[in-house]
Subunit: 246 residues, 2 copies
């Protein structure tokens, strides 16, 4: 699994400038001054990945950080027994790898494109330089790190106390933010970027159980699945799954 490429895999692409990136003000780069943004732009490279393609593997030596420019990337963690969980989904605007940068470890997860994806790669040493130059960036990154840690704890709490069905409801509510769209008649529609196996990994369960839970949600009229399309006729029903009215 060791790998010390200094350049990412994935097909290279022409490089649009960072200042034109529509996601910049949502990312940690919002802390940068204009001239620092062009510094960023110069040092990064763009790369394209097809669904399923691996960006880097858990255990690879750390090379730099990645920004999602387009698409979705999954972060998976595997233990010595081969158990695996899907730690997180990263969407346009998210940055991958700064945790490992600071922890000074190899990559602690495997990153894999879920949909056709474009990433910006920023080498570790250039990131370090930028960090030295901009305390504001450091602060911003630290803030995000702190939030991530908090979210990881929440996930732990959920997964160790809530049944799969409720966790599924949580997941749908989270995905709705990114992949949902309201329909005319008030029903909500979302197109999942995930396979059932992915969902199972994310919920800490098996595909069979996911299928059964979906079935049970259908029976109760909370959702209507067909493949990766989900219809949610009444959002309140889904919210009740998460927080049953007392």
């Amino acid at each position: 699994m060791k790998n010390s490429r200094s350049k990412p895999v994935g097909q290279s692409k022409p490089t649009p400038a960072c200042f034109a990136c529509q996601w910049r003000d949502r990312s940690q780069w919002c802390a940068l001054e204009p001239e620092e943004v062009s510094e960023l732009s110069e040092k990064k490279s763009n790369h394209f990945y097809t669904p399923g393609q691996v960006v880097f593997n858990q255990g690879d030596t750390f090379s730099g950080i990645f920004c999602v420019s387009e698409g979705t990337v999954s972060l998976r963690r595997t233990d010595s027994r081969g158990n695996t969980i899907l730690v997180r989904l990263c969407h346009a605007g998210d940055t991958i790898g700064y945790r490992d940068f600071f922890a000074e470890t190899e990559f602690s997860v495997t990153a894999q494109a879920v949909s056709p994806t474009t990433l910006c790669f920023f080498p570790a040493k250039d990131f370090q330089a930028l960090l030295n130059a901009s305390p504001a960036l450091g602060m911003e990154v630290t803030r995000r790190l702190a939030q991530d840690a908090g979210q990881a704890e929440e996930a732990l709490l959920r997964s160790s106390t809530l049944p799969v069905r409720v966790r599924m409801a949580h997941l749908l509510l989270a995905l709705k933010e990114r992949y949902g769209q309201g329909l005319d008649d008030g029903t909500l529609r979302l197109v999942l970027p995930l396979s059932r196996q992915d969902i199972a990994d994310l919920l800490g369960t098996r595909p069979e159980t996911v299928a059964r839970v979906i079935h049970s949600l259908e029976i109760d009229g909370v959702t209507r699945f067909s493949g990766r399309n989900v219809l949610i006729p009444d959002l309140d029903l889904l919210l009740d799954e998460v927080d049953p009215e007392e």
Copy 2:
């Protein structure tokens, strides 16, 4: 549960100087220059807590960070349904609360003394000032934050894939670092700082299950429990629980 005391509860104590603290070089404060350490010393206050006493509650407004000077503190997180997990145990040298400082939230956990405990309290604004003055401190804190986040993910992976017995073995191995002592005949002895209920919370299970798991470990000769005393005749047996030889 709201609470906006600016001073911690817990009986005040005379204040030993930070430069004399034997834990300083293990903590993030190792990044500070001598004159900054005395700054630290001036601004902090000491407080004593009896077992079970709450240092702060989840949801209290953030007031500052705490260093464990002596004893053990548990960090618990509770969800809206009243489920609770023990997120972490903090020992002498550990710092509590910097995650919430950066995430700019209220306290995200409840901190409670597990044994008789002395804490140093450092108000948020003074920490901020110190942080502004010392980039090295910022870097060090960020590093620890990144490591914490990684550990939270590992915990998640373990708790969602490994059976309680293996998680128990993990816990014992972790506690041995702090609470273990080798005996003449090579057996290892540890005195747990935890009740069965605490262990259950930490493993994400129930006290009854903990009792049964302990029983099963006894039967297999891996451990010998009597109350909070544990004897481990052969460490290898415990290691095999975690990583069964292939």
